[in-house]
């Protein structure tokens, strides 16, 4: 078996554990929870093996220093590593808080990342490193960035849970905001699930889809009908989340976790993520750019978005500690922070470069 087999196994285990965690939240059967954790842990094991194997494969292809051969050099590998960090972080939280209800909110983020990696058509091949990437700073920069992204992802999940527990006034902006975010995440996850089923499992692939399946079964379908129906369904789903969101509280509250604990956990995750992001994401990135290109900062969109994300979390910290923002307001800042993180990571590649490359057509 090679690394991709183990990656496949771990992805299956994670997806199963995601489904199990959500069922656990709904049915509250202890056994379901234990099985869910078991799958998450087994997935992590397979994932770790896969990572090590890929490292070895890369090392053999690239014929360079072992540290240079870390398989973290393209979007696919980094997404997968993000999932690894996220699951490790999640299992630590579950173990510390002796509480499995977080799983239903955190594992879907892992599920999304995996689905995205699989259907967006990004290259999964091992490529030898181009000269700019041949730096030991790469290892430090990328690993630390992803550790912080995982911490931010957990803070996002706990902030959503917090809002689900305390923000239940349907007319308030905060309620509309968090239900919309949760709704969008769910819709995107489901749409990617449908892509996966139609193009991967049912094998309905078509030449035009060779590159990317993303949303091709729904929003970007070749049939206008399907695409319109998808949008209507998505809007209906968002409205559904809006009208039923108040009920989510009922699922979480039996789990002996208080809103204060969630608020505190959100802060703690950011308190870990922020310094790691500063050092690994910004500083090491700048040092590397300095070594490779002779400029530690050049305001390119990726750098600028990292800085924006950094400012959002600095805002979070100062608003919380100094202006005494608590509760709903600060939880929303945490959500904005993670949205900015996702944008830094994916949006810049997908949207901004798209915007600019269309511009040059």
């Amino acid at each position: 078996m090679d690394s991709s087999d183990f990656f496949g196994l771990s992805a299956i285990a994670y997806i199963l554990s995601m489904i199990l965690y959500i069922s656990f939240l709904v049915f509250k059967k202890e056994t379901i929870g234990i099985v869910a954790t078991t799958f998450a842990a087994l997935g992590l094991l397979a994932h770790t093996i896969a990572f090590a194997l890929r490292w070895k494969e890369f090392y053999e292809i690239g014929k360079m220093g072992i540290l240079r051969a870390v398989p973290l050099t393209n979007l696919y590998e980094s997404l997968i590593f993000f999932v690894w960090c996220l699951i490790v972080g999640y299992l630590i939280v579950e173990w510390k808080y002796k509480n499995r209800s977080f799983g239903a909110f955190i594992t879907p983020i892992a599920g999304m990342a995996l689905a995205f990696a699989d259907i967006s058509g990004m290259s999964k091949d091992i490529h030898p490193l181009v000269p700019a990437l041949q730096s030991n700073w790469l290892l430090a920069h990328v690993t630390m960035s992803f550790i912080s992204y995982a911490a931010f992802a957990i803070s996002f999940a706990t902030a959503i849970m917090y809002l689900a527990m305390v923000s239940d006034n349907k007319k308030s902006l905060s309620y509309i905001f968090w239900t919309a975010i949760l709704g969008i995440f769910t819709v995107v996850l489901i749409a990617m699930g449908i892509d996966f089923l139609t193009f991967k499992v049912a094998g309905l692939s078509h030449k035009a889809f060779l590159k990317s399946y993303l949303f091709k079964a729904t929003f970007r379908s070749e049939s206008t009908m399907i695409s319109i129906i998808s949008y209507i369904a998505a809007i209906a789903a968002l409205l559904g989340f809006w009208s039923l969101g108040v009920g989510i509280k009922r699922f979480i509250s039996p789990f002996s976790i208080t809103a204060e604990q969630l608020d505190d956990l959100t802060y703690k995750c950011i308190a870990v993520g922020f310094p790691v992001f500063t050092l690994g994401g910004l500083i090491f990135g700048a040092v590397w750019a300095d070594q490779a290109w002779g400029r530690y900062w050049s305001w390119d969109p990726k750098e600028t978005w990292s800085l924006i994300t950094w400012f959002v979390y600095a805002f979070y910290i100062h608003a919380r500690l100094l202006r005494g923002w608590r509760g709903i307001k600060i939880a929303i800042v945490a959500l904005v922070g993670f949205i900015s993180t996702i944008f830094t990571y994916l949006g810049v590649n997908l949207l901004l470069s798209g915007l600019h490359s269309y511009g040059s057509m």
Binding site: Q134, G294, Y296, T304, A319
Partner: protein, 469 residues
């Protein structure tokens, strides 16, 4: 009058010291930066007009672009107002920190005091218990427990009341100020770099030298020495066009004398007298002076190196065969029908067409490809195409930044500051003991500026270890 004036200064001070301003500046920098990533920076106007017409419709695009241009959104990060925002940010940071520093220094200068009993009730973490030991025994037991938990403690006696108290992580309170100071220092470094350094480029053809570099606007910058490129080379991963390394051999010359020679690659620049040369690009620029470099091994295994210009001939040793270079391509490709063509302007796959003459007769023609040794083999021996020297230029980024080390030091300090702010806390612990004859009444109290739960757990651990035996 005097009072009034002071009032204004105070007001300005307060304005700069306020966290509200900080929150505003965070938001303003964030939002304007977003705009800067959407509008392409330093691009030709057409690009952004096209972008704007996609967003707002073509009828408004050119008007909006005029506005964008007027406020400098297309070179935003260097516009006066963005730089002003950054300065606002730094002043805010500086004054805010100065405002708070004296009080925190005062707090930290005072040694920890024994706690008054009435204040004990105000502590966030409190435990009361009774030990079945006399006072002396209890003090001893607790001392050892505290020591085990890593606290260095003091003892205070007042009548029949004994207090053990300890403190840890006092200096972590400075973490915030260290972090803020580092941001300030970072700005100083950046500003020094901008005003006292430069960022230029230089394209150097193999074999040539230059005493100047060029800024983006074409202005010359005198280096104060000469820099020469002796060789440039791209190596590729086997069988692919994925570059593995770009390498330039650079030589520093002072008054014509060779001072320093170094191979630079993408992640290993050359530094000399504060100026750094980075490998950033390369290109192909054939010139009449270019030399083809061959290594010839005849059948009798005599090895000969030759360097000749285009269109010239050489003789294979021990034979009468004359060889002429009759064609060259920097990137030889083969299309589907087997036809040869040049697929790139750079030397991805350089090849020469050699024509073999015996007398006046052409006896053979063959492409010799630098990267494929099997094309070097001939009936007369092997002819290795080593290099086409003097036809590639190396693209160097040339930078002088006397502020960069300040930036690095600032980053280092920032890491320390962040570590202190987020991973350390200031903790205080008091244990009050009072004898009630045979037993001892014990009160344990703790306080910390953050991460209370972990201190509470630690204290709980101490309590458990005392009560367990």
């Amino acid at each position: 009058m005097q009072n009034n004036k002071k009032g204004t200064v105070d007001k300005i001070w307060d304005f700069f010291a306020s966290i509200k301003l900080a929150i505003f500046v965070f938001t303003a920098i964030g939002i304007t930066s977003i705009v800067g990533t959407i509008i392409e920076q330093n691009a030709e106007p057409e690009k952004n007009i096209r972008l704007l017409s996609k967003m707002f419709g073509s009828s408004y695009a050119s008007d909006i672009y005029r506005l964008v241009d007027a406020i400098g959104l297309n070179n935003m990060y260097h516009s006066w107002w963005f730089i002003a925002l950054l300065f606002l940010f730094v002043s805010n940071l500086l004054i805010c920190s100065l405002e708070r520093l004296p009080s925190i220094i005062k707090i930290l200068k005072e040694p920890q005091k024994p706690i008054e009993q009435e204040n004990f009730e105000g502590l966030p973490i409190r435990h009361k218990l009774t030990m079945k030991q006399d006072l002396q025994g209890a003090v001893q037991r607790l001392s050892s427990v505290m020591q085990k938990a890593g606290f260095k403690f003091y003892e205070h006696r007042e009548g029949d009341l004994v207090q053990l108290y300890a403190e840890a992580g006092r200096y972590s309170r400075f973490g915030v100020y260290i972090t803020h100071l580092s941001i300030l220092l970072l700005f100083i470094g950046v500003v020094i770099g901008i005003f006292m350094g430069f960022n230029g480029y230089l394209n150097l053809l193999e074999g040539t030298s230059s005493s100047v570099a060029y800024l983006a606007n074409g202005k010359e910058i005198n280096l104060g020495f000469d820099i020469r490129c002796d060789d440039f080379e791209v190596s590729f991963y086997e069988g692919t066009d994925t570059p593995k390394a770009y390498r330039s051999v650079l030589v520093v010359l002072e008054q014509g004398k060779e001072i320093l020679r170094k191979d630079i690659e993408v992640n290993t620049p050359l530094r000399y007298k504060g100026i750094t040369f980075y490998q950033s690009s390369f290109g192909f620029a054939p010139s009449p002076q270019s030399l083809f470099h061959f290594r010839i091994a005849s059948k009798s295994n005599k090895i000969q190196e030759i360097k000749i210009p285009f269109d010239e001939t050489f003789i294979i040793p021990d034979t009468k065969v004359k060889v002429k270079i009759s064609d060259f391509t920097p990137a030889l490709g083969v299309d589907e029908s087997g036809k040869l063509f040049t697929y790139a302007d750079s030397m991805y796959n350089p090849a020469v067409l050699l024509e073999f003459h015996e007398g006046n007769r052409v006896i053979n023609r063959q492409w010799v490809i630098k990267r494929y040794p099997h094309t070097w083999v001939f009936p007369e021996g092997t002819i290795e195409f080593v290099d086409l020297w003097g036809s590639q230029y190396t693209g160097l980024q040339v930078r002088k930044d006397p502020g960069v080390w300040i930036v690095y030091v600032a980053c280092l300090i920032m890491s320390v500051g962040l570590y202190m702010s987020f991973f350390m806390s200031h903790r205080r612990l008091w244990i009050l003991l009072r004898s009630t004859g045979k037993e001892t009444e014990v009160m344990i109290g703790g306080w910390s500026n953050k991460y209370r739960a972990s201190l509470a757990a630690k204290i709980q651990g101490m309590v458990d270890s005392i009560t367990s035996k």
